[in-house]
């Protein structure tokens, strides 16, 4: 690379890096620092002693086993579905692919509300007595993350050359042997990286555990929330944040090691018609889809059940502030706030994400360059795992005084949400950019195109779908973001997820019914965006 080229990449890397430092590292460090310097003096002993508390042990154990179990279940449920949706061709497969990815972008609060309704003693599955149990939480975690497994493994499956399997068959391997000796080794990197990411999501899940766990179950994330907001125990919160940060860095390093970009292929190129021996897998897929649909369908039905027949009464109530003035603003106002914020957050995430993706997708000749690029890539994956609560609280305590006083700035929430969506944008755009043959750029350059021109004629025509998809993805994620927003949204300008949480925290049947109606609206909005995104057929959306 020429000096000018290197300077260009440096400048490209500098902007998102500066943003990451100011709006991610600084707040997180501020939050963690509060724990180590509780009263101005350095006191690491307090942090260490937190780890001796029996309650902390309980929280840690619950975090590990619920996330571990949910990860295992998501993989077991998801891998056969990945095969059916990415390797078979049948009417409705496209719709099912969209359906399966939906839960991942559904706002956590919505999922919490949906599961609570489904499992409540008077709900459709009340007879199972799962309301408020750990099993319910695990089920909700699985619900969220099956799509990650399906998308990630599915992308690998599409990239596997079917002829390798055919070669094995002509060498005398039966279907099972072909799977175990050829297919599975090809999928393993995908399964491993999906499992790591799912474990990451499950162990840092916030909205679901908060709405469903009540007081009985807490994971590290909700515990940090409780410690900071209810008990004002910043030392305890900082200790847990640090522990979480360490675990996440280890997991991300592991995921960077296992992650190998799948060969990008078109879904249809390798797909075949189902045969009789696929029947079991099709039934399996049907069951998984039913599991994914059940909470949503029951939520929609409940939202139009007015007690004396069907109607839109609960939706009309959304123009009010709820039973007993539960809210400061009507739900509809919160919806507009959410949409406005999401537009800004998506724009921010996209511009930063593109810069990061451009840098990490460049092929580096020197090992030093490659290492730097991997490190850079890893740094921008951090927001994926770091507690959104830590981030949100960190914003509050570090960005409320000079040099950066953003406490009253309307940009605070969009910036925080953009940080949360940033890794997803990078993961969507970078694989597509990396799949462009470097020689195409070289050819364009040799024909006289300058660097910008090369971007325009080589990268953009290939990447525009991914850019559009990433924008939609960021928009949907931002719409549903709850963890950081719950700290940062001003009381008179709440977002829709925040309002939903306020509604279910207030007593009153009308409030819960309004929460369900509002959840349907929020889910509908994110679903609509994701359906549009899915029409763009970008394989890397939601794959890790």
């Amino acid at each position: 690379m020429t000096l000018r080229g290197r300077l260009g990449v440096g400048a490209l890397a500098a902007v998102p890096l500066a943003v990451l430092v100011v709006f991610f590292a600084y707040p997180v460090a501020g939050m963690v620092g509060r724990g180590f310097w509780p009263s101005g003096g350095f006191d690491p002993g307090g942090v260490l002693s937190v780890l001796d508390r029996p309650r902390v042990h309980r929280v840690l154990w619950f975090t590990v086993w619920s996330a571990g179990l949910a990860t295992a279940l998501a993989v077991v449920l998801g891998v056969p579905v990945a095969f059916v949706l990415h390797r078979l061709r049948f009417p409705g497969a496209g719709l099912l692919r969209t359906l399966v990815v939906l839960p991942f972008v559904l706002p956590t609060v919505v999922v919490g509300v949906a599961f609570r309704h489904l499992l409540s003693p008077t709900g459709p599955l009340g007879a199972l007595h799962l309301d408020g149990t750990a099993a319910a939480i695990v089920a909700a975690l699985v619900f969220f993350n099956v799509s990650v497994v399906v998308r990630t493994v599915g992308a690998f499956w599409e990239g596997l050359d079917r002829r390798a399997e055919e070669a094995a068959a002509t060498l005398g391997a039966g279907p099972l042997r072909v799977f175990s000796t050829v297919t599975l080794p090809g999928l393993l990197p995908g399964i491993a990286s999906a499992a790591v990411v799912v474990f990451l999501f499950c162990s840092t899940a916030f909205g679901v555990v908060l709405t469903m766990g009540g007081l009985r179950y807490a994971n590290v994330e909700t515990e940090i929330y409780l410690l900071t907001t209810q008990e004002l125990d910043l030392t305890g919160a900082a200790a847990l944040s640090i522990l979480q940060l360490v675990v996440i860095v280890v997991l991300l390093a592991l995921s960077a090691r296992t992650r190998r970009a799948p060969t990008l292929a078109h879904a249809s190129a390798q797909a075949r018609l189902p045969r009789r021996r696929d029947a079991l897998l099709l039934v399996w897929t049907g069951c998984v889809v039913a599991f994914l649909l059940a909470p949503m369908v029951s939520l929609v039905l409940a939202s139009v059940d007015t007690g004396d027949g069907w109607g839109l009464g609960h939706y009309r109530d959304l123009q009010t502030v709820g039973q007993g003035n539960a809210l400061l603003v009507p739900v509809t106002t919160a919806l507009w706030t959410s949409l406005r914020i999401a537009v800004v957050a998506a724009a921010l995430a996209l511009s930063l994400g593109c810069a990061v993706a451009l840098v990490v997708s460049r092929r580096w000749r020197t090992s030093q360059g490659r290492r730097l690029s991997t490190l850079f890539d890893g740094a921008f994956m951090l927001p994926l795992g770091v507690s959104a609560v830590t981030l949100g609280f960190g914003f509050l305590i570090t960005l409320d005084h000079p040099p950066l006083d953003l406490r009253t700035s309307p940009m605070l929430v969009p910036i925080a949400q953009a940080m949360v969506a940033l890794p997803l944008v990078v993961r969507t755009v970078a694989p597509v950019l990396a799949s462009i043959d470097e020689r195409q750029r070289e050819a364009a350059a040799s024909l006289g195109a300058g660097p910008l021109r090369v971007l325009l004629v080589v990268d953009l025509p290939v990447a525009w779908r991914a850019l559009l998809a990433a924008t939609g993805f960021a928009f949907a994620v931002s719409l549903g973001e709850f963890g950081a927003t719950s700290f940062l949204a001003r009381d008179d300008h709440p977002t829709l997820p925040v309002v939903i949480y306020q509604l279910i925290s207030h007593p009153g049947e009308t409030n819960f019914a309004m929460a369900m109606a509002a959840s349907v609206v929020l889910a509908g909005a994110t679903a609509a965006v994701m359906m549009l995104v899915d029409r763009l057929r970008v394989g890397s959306v939601g794959a890790f």
Binding site: E166, A167, T170, L171, G172, A173, G174, P175, R177, V178
Partner: protein
Amino acid sequence: MTGLEVRDLTVRYGATTAVDAVDLDVPAGSLTAVLGPSGSGKSTLLRAIAGLEAPSSGSIRYDGHDLARVPTHRRGFALMFQDGQLFSHQSVARNVGYPLRLQHGLGSRQARPADHERVAELLELVGLAGYGDRMPATLSGGERQRVALARSLAVEPRMLLLDEPLSALDRDLRERLAAELHDILGRAGTTALLVTHDQEEAFAIADRMAVMRAGRIVQAGTIEEVWHAPVDSWTARFLGYATILEGQSAEIIRALVDPTATWREVALRRSAIRLDPTGPLLATVTSARVTPEQLRLDLDVEGIGALPGVAEPGQVVAVGEHVRARVVPDRLAALGPDRSAGTP
């Protein structure tokens, strides 16, 4: 020992018919090539024979047994792909030993001593002794194809199916490997069916040939039969004949090589017209180019028009020069319904 018999085989993808009522015989012990341009359906035919595509109608039999209900892995036909399709996560030795491990059943992960020997033997056979521990990614294209061949032979297949096995290689390697493939398969006594779009590859490896066009077999027979008597002008061109003449031009040629024949169409190879000071044809040289084997000429032949021709490499020929030429009878093939009457 009847080998493979394909009868009236049709394979459809939706509305397109890729293989259209094909009959094909591959006698046991023979090396048969299906030669056709890309898109002619030859690969689909091969995949149907391997059991990877379901035929719409027709039958595939081997030694008299119908294979309709036999799944791919029980047919005993090893298929070697254009790019080898080695398993990239396994070493060369494990790739070659893969079919052997399959034969020992699910439990055996460990290679047996006898397998080791067999793998070494096979690698030796394809000229890659000592390559066992290499990974496929470290091999050249030609080496990969040899490993794929060794792996296919490890099955001791009833029949070996080869899908353009040499097309991905450069010319030099292709020629060398084609000759080796012919020898190796001959030594192993394997029945083989090869599909290719490259007539040189077919000639170098096979001893029987079927020409395929738009889903149909248009001609089949021994290499010599097909070569010397292409069934029509399209086949002749595809087999590398440079020019097709008909009408008066064809009659001029006919009068020179076989006045009693009645054919009206003839295919000429470039070397069918050769400069000869005593030859009967009068021509003007329009261009001349030196190649290692011969002097390649473009001629304007009196009564016929533009025709390619050749001369001895040492000969000095200038553009615009008036020359005489003769017809070399065994470098042309008569075409059309009356061709048998006067085949040279």
